[in-house]
Amino acid sequence: MERGFTVWFTGLSCSGKTTVSRGVAKDLMKRGLKVEVLDGDVVRTNLSKGLGFSKEDRDTNIKRIGFVCKLLSRNGVVAIAAAISPYRAIRDYNRQEIGDFIEVYCKCPLEVCIERDVKGLYKKALAGEITNYTGVSDPYEEPLNPEVVLETGKETEEESINKVIRKLEELRYIPPAEAPSYSEEEKEKIQKRLTDLGYI
């Protein structure tokens, strides 16, 4: 593959971005593609270390991730970003900058995310212990026209991963997965046919 592309997962905290993005990455790697995952939580410990959760800092964080995705994409890597990225304008800015950009919206009801609360942060936000928490005390702007919408409250992890992969195939970013041309038995049969003809 000469050019890569960017798969951008957006959605509330605990909406399944990290889980599904890792599954998608694994599938693409199996197909021999070069893949890099930029997970929001991880990026905030290095590339965006020190940034807070004000609108300005959030925008800077998302632009930085977008910039790295752009560099990777243009060098033949599939860049997968998994970040809340709550503001539509910045996501759209990244889409414009990157070009080959597939937006995946992890749509999950807030109640379900609160129930999941893997990191215990919703609890703190609801108790007012942390401020500017998306969905509780900060806005989340839904994408208007994402390439994929995952109903992560209803779908299984596998279903969500498949939805993303099918869309990438449909958009011809990746070739459709096919069964191999031959089963082992068929391969033997054809090899024999070619051997009998003196062709192999």
């Binding site: 049969k189 070619l194 192999i200």
Partner: protein, 450 residues
């Protein structure tokens, strides 16, 4: 082509009959002897030219070149067997490995309807606007067709994918019986689709001519009293078939008949990997190597059928040890020189006519997948890739082999402006696009003959 020609050719339909491995010289001789009356009649109005094939000269490479209009460096089919250098796993290249769009895919996109039957390297069948019945690399009739439902029509008909070539080693009579029945079924399938389907482009491929040539050519050439006449009889059946097609053609339909390579008698099979071992360029890790996967890291060179020579290159081959570029170039030079000096141990005749470097033959995105050298033998010596042979040459049941410069191209009612061997199999596809009035893609290597 002038304006009037363009008008004349616009919106024509084209029917192609592919006769695998039929030499220009054979058709010319047999029709001159009055043995092929229908063919002789076709020759009265049309161009019949001797055409070049491709290197290496095998059907999968030649038909891939035909259907893409591109050199193997672009379409990525280099033989009936290939290897992934990174693992040295061996595989059979299929339509999925063939890069680029085919003639029928381009026509389909232009809204033309196509029917394609039995062309090599069309398995698994890729989508077309129409019907595609793939060829002898298909293991099972259920998987042969696009759309899939057409397979049941063929099954009911008793359609046969290919002959059983093993029979030729035991009983030539049974083999001949099989050849006739398979051809009959092929023709039956062709007329089934020809009569029922709408089409702008129709191609039928006859594989059986290649098969009879492999096992009976030598007998016919030597004047065998039993099988010589059987050989001619078979060609007369093909001749009658061509007559039947020609008689039924409508005014707006252009008939093309072609082969992909020529044929000549085979004196001996030549085992290049045995020779490479003997000369110290190839070593195996196993006593009885099963595939090129078993080659030793110290090997410099190995070969795949027919005459494809690969350097065991560090960074490319799994067990590669030859350094690029200095050692690579030195080894290619040494192997080339040694090959050109190879002689038949019995007769003392030279075996190799020339050795071409890959940059002399290929270009394109899949250039790196191609062989580093291609050895081209003198007629009569067929280069094989077996790994377990203990002698350089062998005379077996195969009595015919492919030739590069004796394929043929025929087009009815049209003068083509190139002389014999002034064009090749890759020029046919742009010619057909021009006849039908569909613009060719920009990256073709072939050029229209009109």
């Amino acid at each position: 082509m002038g304006l009037f020609d363009r008008l004349r050719f616009k919106d024509r339909r084209v029917l192609v009959v592919g006769l695998d491995g039929v030499p220009f010289s054979l058709l010319k001789a047999l029709s001159a002897e009055g043995k092929l009356p229908n063919w002789a009649k076709l020759l009265e109005s049309g161009s019949f030219k001797r055409m070049n094939s491709v290197h290496p000269c095998v059907s999968s490479v030649a038909w891939a070149t035909y259907m893409t209009g591109k050199n193997p460096g672009k379409h990525n089919i280099y033989g009936f067997v290939d290897r992934f250098p990174g693992s040295m796993d061996v595989f059979i290249p299929t339509s999925r490995d063939m890069a680029g769009e085919t003639l029928w895919e381009i026509l389909s996109q232009a809204g033309k309807r196509v029917v394609v039957i039995n062309v090599p390297v069309t398995f698994p069948p890729r989508e077309v606007n129409g019907i595609l019945i793939s060829g002898f690399l298909c293991p099972n009739i259920d998987k042969i067709a696009y759309p899939k439902e057409q397979a049941s029509v063929l099954r009911e008909m008793g359609y046969r994918i290919d002959v059983d070539a093993w029979q030729a080693r035991n009983s030539l009579d049974r083999f001949l019986e099989d050849l006739h029945l398979t051809l009959d079924k092929r023709i039956e399938a062709m007329f089934h689709f020809l009569e029922r389907e709408e089409w702008d482009f129709f191609q039928i491929h006859i594989m059986e001519t290649d098969r009879i040539n492999h096992f009976l050519w030598g007998l016919w050439e030597e004047g065998d009293p039993q099988y010589g006449p059987e050989f001619i009889k078979y060609y007369q059946k093909i001749d009658a078939f061509l007559g039947q097609i020609n008689a039924g053609l409508e005014e707006d339909t252009q008939l093309i008949v072609l082969s992909d390579h020529g044929f000549c008698g085979m004196k001996k099979e030549v085992f290049l990997n045995y020779w490479l071992q003997r000369e110290g360029w190839l070593k195996f890790r196993e006593k009885a190597p099963k595939s090129v996967k078993d080659i030793h890291q110290e090997s410099k060179v190995y070969s795949l059928i027919p005459g494809r020579i690969y350097v065991n290159l560090a960074g490319r081959e799994f067990s590669g040890s030859v350094r690029f570029p200095d050692e690579y170039e030195r080894i290619r030079g040494e192997v080339k020189e040694a090959l050109l000096g190879m002689r038949d141990p019995d007769s003392g005749e030279m075996i190799i006519e020339k050795v071409l470097k890959r940059e002399e033959l290929y270009h394109g995105l899949h250039y790196n997948e191609g062989p580093d050298l291609v050895a081209i033998p003198h007629n009569g010596y067929d280069l094989k890739g077996n790994l377990d042979k203990k002698e350089l040459t062998y005379k077996g049941p195969l009595v015919g082999m492919h030739t590069y410069d004796d394929a043929f191209f025929y087009i009815r009612d049209v003068d083509i402006r190139r002389g014999n061997n002034q064009f090749g199999v890759m020029d046919v596809m742009p010619t057909i696009l021009k006849l039908i009035g569909v613009p060719p893609p920009e990256d073709l290597d072939g050029q229209a003959l009109l």
